[in-house]
């Protein structure tokens, strides 16, 4: 196996982390601190219909899934010694990430 660098993953992880932190502050304060009506069905759906919010949510979703599952993959890399277990973990991670992404995508795009 060729030597694997981790430079790009390392860099993107930090980049995405910074972005997510900014986005999550917006998302979390909106949902939890701007009044209970923000969590009502009508309000949520209205936001999903706005193209700006739609792209916000899509970017947020993508970044979170990438950052999170890459993080899990790094943890696996740190503690799992056996190559076959690693491959198994990678497959599961990819399935989970892809599955969650499709569910999220469907939710955001439906409205």
């Amino acid at each position: 196996m060729a030597r694997q660098t981790g430079s790009i993953g390392w860099f993107l992880q930090r980049l995405s982390g910074g972005l997510i932190f900014a986005l999550i502050l917006v998302h979390f304060s909106l949902m939890h601190y701007m009044g209970p009506e923000k969590r009502l069905y009508a309000d949520v759906v209205r936001r999903f219909q706005n193209p700006l919010w739609k792209s916000f949510d899509l970017v947020f979703l993508t970044l979170c899934l990438c950052h999170g599952w890459y993080g899990v993959w790094e943890i696996v890399g740190d503690y799992v010694r056996s190559d076959s277990l690693k491959i198994l973990a990678l497959i599961l991670i990819v399935i989970a990430a892809a599955g969650l992404f499709s569910i999220g995508l469907v939710t955001v795009l439906t409205f």
């Binding site: 660098t5 981790g6 430079s7 390392w10 860099f11 740190d78």
Partner: protein, 238 residues
């Protein structure tokens, strides 16, 4: 100068694979005088209480790096740590974590040395050298100053949880050594050496736990070197 500090209890890790099914702790009471180091106490125990106690030591002036061990939970050199600096009357001594045990406080540092050797730790010159010295300005020399002072005691790598889980990880000492040459203004082997470091068992295995910086008895900062290497390795891939 000969003021006594009183009686201290030394709780020392003991294990001889030839005899002992498992490790244990032996306790020794030592009358400590002002100015005595941990190594002085170990010598005293070995000389008058139990000659079988095994540990490495040589220069006793904090430059050879033989006597690195885990003292009250932290890696340090036994020879330069004054007993009076420690809190409490009981001192627990363990071997350096993460290396295979040989006997008592002696560990097998083969992996550590192999990792040092793996980063091409020598000056690479392709262009011919002049008759005189290669010039190097003080600012360039300063850049490698702390890396040059590493004594290879192994404290840092031994304190790194990433090394505990992955003995293949080069570890802070080897990365510091790589830094010492990559950032030496006279060196011409930068690319090959960066390629070695830019690996998932190289610089990217570091999780910035900072144990290494705290463990270093010479107050060096492997983490700063590793941060520098990460940036260089990143530049290389983009």
């Amino acid at each position: 100068m000969a003021d006594t500090l009183g009686l201290y209890t030394f709780k020392i890790f003991r294990y001889n694979p030839d005899k002992d099914p498992k490790s244990r702790y032996d306790t020794f009471a030592v009358e400590v005088r002002q100015g005595m180091t941990i190594l002085d106490c170990l010598q005293k125990i070995k000389g008058s209480l139990d000659g079988t106690l095994s540990f490495r030591r040589s220069c006793r002036s904090a430059i050879c790096g033989s006597c690195a061990m885990n003292i009250n939970g932290k890696n340090d050199l036994a020879c330069h740590l004054q007993v009076s600096r420690l809190r409490g009357r009981t001192i627990t001594i363990n071997p350096l974590p993460g290396y295979p045990l040989i006997k008592d406080l002696v560990v097998d540092m083969g992996e550590f040395y192999r990792h040092i050797a793996a980063v091409m730790p020598w000056l690479v010159r392709r262009s011919p050298c002049p008759d005189r010295e290669l010039l190097q300005f003080p600012a360039d020399r300063d850049r490698i100053d702390s890396a040059v002072n590493c004594i290879l005691c192994g404290s840092c790598t031994s304190s790194c949880p990433q090394f505990w889980f992955n003995p293949r990880y080069l570890g802070p000492a080897a990365l510091l050594k790589a830094y010492r040459f990559i950032f030496d203004s006279r060196d011409e082997g930068r690319d090959e050496r960066l390629a070695i470091v830019d690996d998932r068992y190289g610089v990217w295995r570091c999780r910035t736990v900072f144990n290494c910086d705290e463990a270093c008895p010479k107050k060096l900062h492997p983490n700063e070197a590793i941060a520098g290497l990460k940036i260089e390795a990143l530049k290389r891939s983009v």
